[in-house]
Structures are given as C-alpha cells and as structure tokens.
C-alpha cells in the first residue's frame, strides 16, 4: 500500500501536526519508502500466532485502595501539576476559547 498527498494530509490532521505544502510533498515519498520496506512482513506465515502483548510475563498489579498513598502520584498537588503549564489561571490550565 502506498500513500498519496491527500492521505498524508489526513494522517497529519489526525496526528494534530500542521504540515506546510513543502513538508507534505517531502513526506509522501519518505513514508512510501518506509511503508514499502515494512510490507515484507506480509511474507511471514503467522497462522495461529498470537500478537505479542507482553515480552516478559508479568501480572498487572492494583495499588492499595488508599487516597494519596504515594505523594508523588497521588492528588493534592495542583501547583506542581500546573507549574510547567504555558498558561495557568485560577488553578486551571488556560486554553484558547473553544465555545463561541
């Protein structure tokens, strides 16, 4: 399968990356080169093979049901969470107006 300019523009929109016309034109052959190369995976007989979900067997754990048991990953840290926000106002993340 190969991609055309319209498809790459659609992928870029899905990925929320603005591409100029020139970037778009350059990206099409690059992506096609990579996609043509990965297509050799289609040669592999995968009948009855399960897709990999975990390379090392491990059980998913549940944390203890305690509020803020870990001060680093718990709550009560509003200022820390907002410290790197480009715009933080009144204890919230600031964004451009989304409702007219």
């Amino acid at each position: 399968m190969s991609v055309d300019t319209a498809t790459v523009a659609k992928i870029a929109a899905l990925a929320r990356i603005k591409l100029s016309e020139a970037e778009l034109a350059a990206m099409v052959p690059e992506l096609n080169g990579i996609l043509a190369w990965v297509e050799q995976l289609g040669e592999v007989d995968v009948t009855g093979v399960e897709p990999m979900t975990a390379v090392i067997e491990n059980h998913l754990r549940l944390r203890d049901d305690v509020i803020n048991a870990d001060p680093l990953t718990g709550g009560d840290n509003r200022d820390g969470v907002l410290a790197n926000a480009p715009v933080a106002e009144h204890g919230f993340f600031g964004v451009p107006k989304v409702i007219e």
Binding site: M1, M27, P51, A54, V81, N84
Partner: protein, 496 residues
C-alpha cells in the same frame, strides 16, 4: 593524585578510592566538572550541573568523615541522559517542545542513583525523543564523537544514538559513567561506536517512571561505562521494583558485581547464522570471529544456532515503535507543559497542530505519522497486528535458541561509526544500523556491548552478548571474558 589522572578512573576505582581516602569525592567532582566545561566542542551536554556534582560529592565526603556507608556509587559523578526527569533541572528529551520544562519530580532511576551516592554532572544530549541512531536529530545540535579516523582527516563522526551524549561523554572522560536508555539499540550501538561498555537489562528491571516515553513496550534504562564491572555496579544501583511502573519486575536485584566471573567452562555460546549477512563489513566479521575464539579460550562451547525471523525484526520494530510513539507523544499539546504556539485568532485544534509543528523535529514527525497511519482504521490489522505477531515469532526464535545455548554472541552494529551527515538524508539506511540490536529489544532480553578492538580506520568495534530473560549475570560474565582478552585500551586523542 593529580586531577587529570582522576578522570581516567572508572566507577569502581572512584568508589574504592574515595572509600579508602586516597582522594576525596570533591576532588573527583571538580576534575570531571573541569573536563565537562572544557569540552563544549563535543556538545555532549545540554545542561551542565557542576553544582549538583559538587553537592553530592560534599555529602559523600561528609558521610565518610562521619564513618557512614557511602553507597554503591558513593563519590561517583555521572552524566544523566536528558530523557530522565530531574527535579528542578530542565528535561528536554532534546526537543524544542520540552525546552524549558522543569520537572517537579525525580525519575525513579535517577533518584536511586543519587540515593546510592552518585552526583550529577549534567544532562546529556541525545537524539530527539531518543529517535535516531547518530544523535543528529537533537534540537540542541549534533553530538560530535571524540573519535576520529586514522586517515589524518578531521571528519566529524557520529557518537551513535540515541544515547550519543552519554557515549561521547564517557569516551572523552567527561564522566566515568552515564545513564542510557535502549529502545532498539540506543545503549549498545553508541557504546560500540565509542569503545565503551553498555548494558540494556531485561525489560522491567529498571523503572520507566519519570523517563520521557518513546515506545513503552521496548524502553529500558541501563548504564554506559568504561568496563563491565562498572556497568554491573551501576546497574545494581539503577534496577529494582517500582510500584509506579506497571511493567516493573517485582524481583530482587542480584549482586551482579559480586557475581562477576569470566570463567565460561560449561557454558554454551550461540552464534546465530542469520546474523552473518551478505556483504558484511570485513572488519566487523573478523572481530566477531575473534570474539568466538576469545569465548572458546574462556572455556565456552560454541554452538551454531538459528534465529530464522531475524530479517523481519527491523521492519516489525519500525511499525511497533512508531505506533507506540504516536500514542505516547499525543501528550504534547501545548496545554499542560512545554511549548505553546498560538497563532493569532487560532482555536484549540489549530493551537495543537501549530504547537506540534513547531515543537517536533522532522524525524519525530515522520515517526508519529507512520505510527498514526499503521494504527488507523482499516490498516491496523495489516500493519500493527501483523508486526506484533512477527514479534511473537522473534521472541520464540530466541526461546528456542536458548534451549541450546546460554548466551548469544553477535556484532553490536554492522559498521563502525559513520560520519555525521552520511546517512541523515535517508531514513532507511539509518534504520538499518540497528539491525543486530533490535531483535533483543523486541524480545525484552538483556543485551550488552563491549569493546572488541579497532577497525582499519582506527575506530572502535563492539561485540554484543544477548542473554536469557533475567540472566544479566550471564551476559556480564561473557562480556568480562571478552574484555579480559580484547585488552581494549585505545582512547580518542584529545582534539576538543
């Protein structure tokens, strides 16, 4: 001891020298701080933190004066790849989108190193979001390898990637050791390019908490240092269960340093026939052959093994890693942290797209687009599911091979270091540099590179050892056996 000599010491020698009082931790920190300050031509560091290195050294000296234990890394200053969140110190992943980001917390691995007595010399340059094999995708400029070819020219060479700042810093004696991360070879390939050692442990040994995520099912932290013993010491300090990482292994950390033993009698070393590819670099092939002889000399039995799906590892990797990256990097939105680009009159969606256009470099965008495409409706099964099935087969290949051998020996990379710019125009030829490193990553296996000698251009070549899950000791021991016989002592001549 003269400060110039202190920077020739590795982790074990510094730890032991400080503990015995042969020199102070402050003297060591000052010596390395001076080397860092004098090496801006290499561009190995994005930010230097000499005050952090000194502060930790003073704490170690004070502990020694008080008769307290100094820790596994007591008095050892290290470089920290700028992919680890460090509290109060800018953490960028070498990207524009995270420029100025100052974490409010410390990554688990870096905290463990500080708790073990290490100090931070600075944050090391890397390929942007760890995506690259030459350190040419950093927003903060290329890292230049301290090595040069022996042709009398001064062509700038790649230090490897993505941990290129780490490899350059250790090889140039700016740090006795550094952290790296390995997603598809990013510890092993740069270590090989500059003639140092580096180990990627079993997936889950080192916590990923606080490491900027690239491809979460592959990302693993590990040490890069001058020899095998130093790697063993530092890995002990970095590894261990962390409840904050869902894939962290709840296993005790073995005493790898105490367990070092280069006697391989009774061990079997597998040589994968598929790795001997047509048109293989003659020096790389010869170095591999020497490695086989060295391991025989150490008492090992050599067995021929087959890893039949080897040729499919790289294409599978270049679906899986970009797919995970496209998901992980969705978090950079100009809202919560990092860069915001808000064109006049732009709405929220336009702000996302403009921020990500301005904040990500070309290789990062390329991988996000590939990842978005292979995960999109209609293509998911053909690309992503197929790649994950092939990944199962690759892991099965290793499992089968390990019924016949204890460790596997292969080259680390298909060539020695290449020149900056030689491969950067062609993404595919760059990707192929990780052909020997990626299979072990896809299978989550411990793997290490150790220096094996110089090629005809006077550049280092590495040999790679891949082990069974959880058998870092077997990998380190085979590495030690090679190290004892390779007697690698070459170092780059100072030009910077």
């Amino acid at each position: 001891m003269m400060s110039a000599n202190l920077t020739e010491l590795g982790v074990a020698a510094i730890r032991d020298g400080v503990a015995k009082g042969e020199f102070t931790a402050v003297e060591v920190a000052e010596a390395f701080n001076a080397n860092v300050a004098a090496a801006s031509a290499l561009n190995a560091f994005i930010v230097a933190t000499p005050e952090k290195a000194l502060e930790a050294a003073k704490a170690t000296d004070a502990k020694r004066a008080a008769g307290q234990p100094l820790g596994k890394m007591g008095g050892v200053p290290i470089g920290m790849k700028d992919l680890f969140a460090t509290k109060g110190v800018q953490t960028t992943a070498a990207s524009h989108i995270l420029e100025g980001f100052t974490p409010q917390y410390e990554s688990t691995v870096s905290q463990k190193l500080w708790d073990a007595g290490a100090g931070m010399l600075g944050k090391l340059n890397l390929d942007q979001f760890a995506m690259g094999s030459s350190n040419e995708t950093s927003y903060f400029g290329n890292v230049i390898s301290p090595w040069r070819r022996n042709d009398g020219g001064n062509a700038a060479l790649a230090p490897g990637g993505s941990s290129g700042g780490s490899s350059a810093a250790v090889a140039a004696r700016l740090a006795p050791a550094a952290t790296g991360t390995d997603t598809g070879g990013s510890i092993r390939q740069p270590a090989a390019f500059v003639g140092i050692s580096g180990i990627k442990p079993t997936y889950g040994r080192c916590s990923r908490w606080g490491i900027v995520a690239f491809a979460s099912s592959l990302d693993q932290a590990g040490p890069m240092a001058r020899d095998v013993r130093d790697c063993a010491i530092m890995l002990e300090a970095m590894a261990g269960f962390d409840p904050k990482d869902a894939t962290s292994l709840n296993l005790p950390v073995p005493e790898w340093e105490a367990g070092l033993n280069g006697d391989l009698r009774g061990k079997k070393v597998g040589i994968p026939r598929e790795y001997r590819m047509d048109g293989m670099d003659a020096d790389v092939a010869a170095s591999w052959d020497r490695g086989i002889e060295w391991l025989k000399d150490a008492g090992a039995e050599i067995v021929d093994i087959s890893l039949p799906h080897t040729k499919y590892a790289l294409p599978a990797y270049y679906i899986i890693a970009p797919a995970e990256a496209s998901s992980n990097l969705a978090r950079y939105d100009g809202v919560r942290y990092g860069l915001r680009d808000l064109p006049d009159g732009a709405g929220l969606q336009d702000m996302y797209a403009a921020t990500r256009a301005a904040g990500f470099g070309a290789e990062v965008k390329r991988r996000i687009l590939i990842g978005t495409y292979v995960l999109s409706a209609g293509f998911y099964d053909a690309y992503y599911t197929q790649a994950q099935k092939v990944r199962t087969l690759i892991a099965q290949d290793f499992k089968n091979a390990f019924t016949q051998c204890d460790v596997i020996l292969a080259p680390t990379a298909p060539t020695a270091a290449f020149g900056l710019g030689e491969k950067s125009d062609d993404p595919l030829s760059m990707y192929l540099n990780d052909v020997f490193a990626v299979p072990a990553s896809l299978a989550g296996l411990p793997a290490m590179s150790v220096p094996a000698g110089l090629n005809r251009e006077g550049l280092p070549l590495g040999l790679q050892i891949v082990g069974k899950p959880f058998d870092e000791q077997g990998v380190l021991n085979a590495g030690l056996a090679i190290e004892a016989r390779a007697q690698f002592s070459a170092k780059p001549e100072k030009w910077w």
